[in-house]
């Protein structure tokens, strides 16, 4: 008898499961599912305007970081859980390229995206670039004079002063590794490996993600280390989120002379096998419109990809005169960096 009761309860649970999977009724707005990384953000009224315009309901599925996002897409090729994916970047794109994850699409404003940005995805039509950003060293202004070069950080005055993220688990960590590869090179008398070995000897601290590095270890937030790997927009974000108490950033970007920063470009694509591919394409076009591009700085703290977009006043703290590194990467190369770095730093 008790067996029967339990089995009935389990059957009930099972029927709820099936019920939830049932398709929606007619006449309701079409549900557009957009798979995004956890940092995705946008103005709610813009999304509502899109929904009204297309008689749609936008559902955001959040997938963790860019790596998890891409893993999810890879696990469900041809049978996607969403219609559109946003947040694949030029470091994770090589993992999905040529695997049939996305279906090709030429956005209406594609020509307004700078050619060198598109080139970071090999000008592939599988994805449409939406925004970009740079990772740089951030310095806590309370701590005196910032370092002037990358090399300086391997010297005694900077012992135990730097905190970075693990490139195996963190997107900014991987971008900073790419910047050091591009700066020091793979071959020669002093390679990126030598640099990291010296950093290790000088007490660099490695955290698994940005949040632990910035919120826990960075001296701006109760930690002990005045130099952190973060974004070039973080000082501006400090002012924006300073609750009106800050007129100037408490932190600053450290970009050594002649250093070329790795440029991270984030893109969106229509997933192959999507239920509503046409609506998905319209959503990507919508992301390139002026209205959406203009709010990118204050919602996601990255640079809009369409040239000539009007920017907010406080964004001046995020403007940096940097050259993007010309580094081209394929999946095998990125894997090799991470493996070599892990061997060097984590064993």
């Amino acid at each position: 008898m008790r067996l029967r009761t339990l089995t009935m309860l389990l059957a009930l649970v099972a029927s709820v499961l099936v019920g939830c999977a049932a398709p929606s009724r007619e006449g309701e707005p079409t549900e557009l599912r957009v798979l995004v990384h956890s940092s995705f953000d946008a103005k709610q009224d813009l999304i509502r305007a899109f929904e009204d315009e297309h008689h749609a309901k936008v559902t955001l599925l959040k997938a963790g970081d860019a790596n998890k996002l891409v893993s999810r897409a890879l696990l469900n090729i041809g049978n996607p859980e969403a219609d559109v994916l946003y947040g694949v970047d030029n470091l994770t794109f090589p993992r999905v390229a040529g695997k049939g994850v996305f279906e090709d699409f030429t956005a209406t404003r594609r020509a307004q995206i700078p050619a060198d940005v598109r080139a970071q995805f090999g000008d592939s039509r599988a994805v449409t670039p939406i925004d970009y950003g740079y990772v740089a060293l951030n310095f806590d202004n309370k701590a005196g004079t910032p370092p002037a070069t990358f090399e300086e950080l391997t010297q005694a005055p900077w012992r135990n002063k730097l905190v970075v993220e693990d490139p195996a688990t963190s997107s900014p960590g991987l971008q900073f590794l790419a910047t050091t590869v591009s700066y020091f090179g793979e071959t020669g008398a002093y390679t990126w490996r030598d640099y990291w070995r010296d950093l290790k000897q000088n007490g660099v601290l490695v955290t698994d993600g940005w949040s632990a590095a910035y919120n826990k270890e960075f001296s701006r937030n109760k930690g002990t280390r005045p130099v952190v790997v973060s974004y070039t927009t973080s000082p501006a974000a400090e002012v924006f989120y300073g609750e009106g108490k800050l007129t100037e950033p408490p932190t600053s970007n450290v970009i050594p002379k002649g250093a070329k920063l790795f440029r991270q470009v984030e893109a969106a694509g229509v997933l192959a096998g999507a239920k509503h591919p046409e609506l998905g394409r319209q959503f990507i076009d919508f992301m390139l419109r002026d209205a959406f591009q203009q709010q990118i700085p204050e919602t996601m703290f990255v640079y809009p990809v369409v040239s000539g977009i009007a920017l907010p006043e406080w964004w001046k703290w995020a403007s940096v005169d940097v050259q993007a590194s010309p580094l081209q990467v394929d999946a095998a190369t990125v894997d090799r960096w991470v493996r070599e770095w892990t061997e060097l730093m984590r064993r």
């Binding site: 067996l3 559902t59 696990l75």
Partner: protein, 561 residues
Amino acid sequence: MNATQRVSTEGSGWRWALPALLFVAPLLLWPAGTILVQGLAPDGRLSVDVARAVAGDAYYWERLAFSLGQAAASTTLALVVGLPAAWVFALVRFPGRSLLRALVTVPFVLPTIVVALAFERLLGPGGWAGRAAEAMGLAMPGVSGTIWAILLAHVFYNVSVVIRIVGGVWANLDPATLEAAQMLGAGRIRRFTAVTLPALLPAVLSASALVFMFCFTAFGTVLLLGGGDPHLDTLEVVVYRLTTRLVDLPEASVVAIAQVLTTVLVLLVYAQLQRRVARPLGQRARHARRLRDLGWGQRLLVLLVLALLTAFVVVPLGALVHGALTVGNEGRLTTEHFARLFEDSGNTSYVAPASALRWSLTFALGSTAIALLVGLAAGMAVARSRGVLGVLYDGAFMLPLAIPAVTLGFGYLVTFNRAPVDLRGSAVLVLLAHALIGYPFVMRAVLGPVRALDPELVEAARMLGASRRRAWLRVTLPLVARGLFVGAAFAFGISLGEFGATLLLQRQEFATVPVAIYEALGRPGDANLGAALAMATVLMGVSAAAFFVIERVRYREVGEF
């Protein structure tokens, strides 16, 4: 005692095992198995070379040894702090007892990153501990970023498991047995070693098994409190590092499988031990004594225990609240971060506190209900099965604690992805995932009372003409109810605080409190750090209130524990 009847109660394990297996097989074994096999054999062929390479690499053996060692150390410490505390809560009445017991369970629901921030405020430079030591003229040892920080966090998280599971049995030991021993001339120490200790041993083992599993698969605490020291990586961290970039990496699968096998091995040894020490006990609620009725020695012990609990649990919680009240204001107290939680930023990422709480509580209540059913069935199955089968059930039903959450999350995405059970993006998946990690706690908490149940009670009821079902409902269930309450508290807490699976399966509108905290911590600036800490304080308050209510209800219905 009638031998055939004894057998009929003991051998009924499969009736209980069946429904529990019907839950565990599709929700755990199938998805986790699929993802691990996919990783191990990406082209359909098993890659034996990888397994051989991993087995031949000293690095992985070192990580395994470290994982086991720190888990053993954490468990020992949790017992050292938890056992005296279990005694105090079980047998002594003092002002604020319910509140303190509720507070001690709160760590269970706090996301690791929040705990790490609290510990940094406590143990880091200029932290409370350092300043207190300085005031006393002592030098504060550098704990931050060492194995000690990890161990402290593990005690912080797990001491309530010991307190509740052992304390539950302790409070209900039949005083008649102790009185009998006293009359037979046994002294205080002899009474403890000959009567109390053997009676408590199954519960102590149960609690130790849970704490050990939790610490063996430790992940967040190690990543966030280990100070990035690679010598402090557990196997779980190694798997995480390998899977983050490439889910189909054979190496990650081999390591994950090795971790599961080790856990199973440990569990089998444990289950064997547990069977040996289990014995029927007389159970009766004992009245806790008031503080002033105790002798001087016992009073001192009570004070010592309270001081320890305050240091290990209450102070870190206080550091968190203090942070929420002071971020960005140079030490001045202000409630502005709490007020800001209610201001809609107009962004899609804005999570209203009421909405986050509603989802958190919905998932927690729903998953606790499922966890109670499954945990009860699993516990009965283990207790009622003889020999190897019982040991095997025990190992199998504990697996949810051994399989990395990320592995399970990805497993769900590849198994529940076709009609009619396409659950991707469904709230039900979150509910079931939470129930899956919650029920082992119910099972462990139920096992003790079921094993301690005197079979003669059930037999007496049967002989008086009660049907098997009626005997179970009238005799077994009321005695097991105590364990169900303890288990429910943990299942509830686990669900409230969980975010690994939630993060992997969530829709924006289902954002729970831990998800909102995690997202706020993903952005720079005082407003975000303040919002995260304020949200964490709210989570703390709500869970403390919930645990407090559970305490009060329990008192009236099932006696003391």
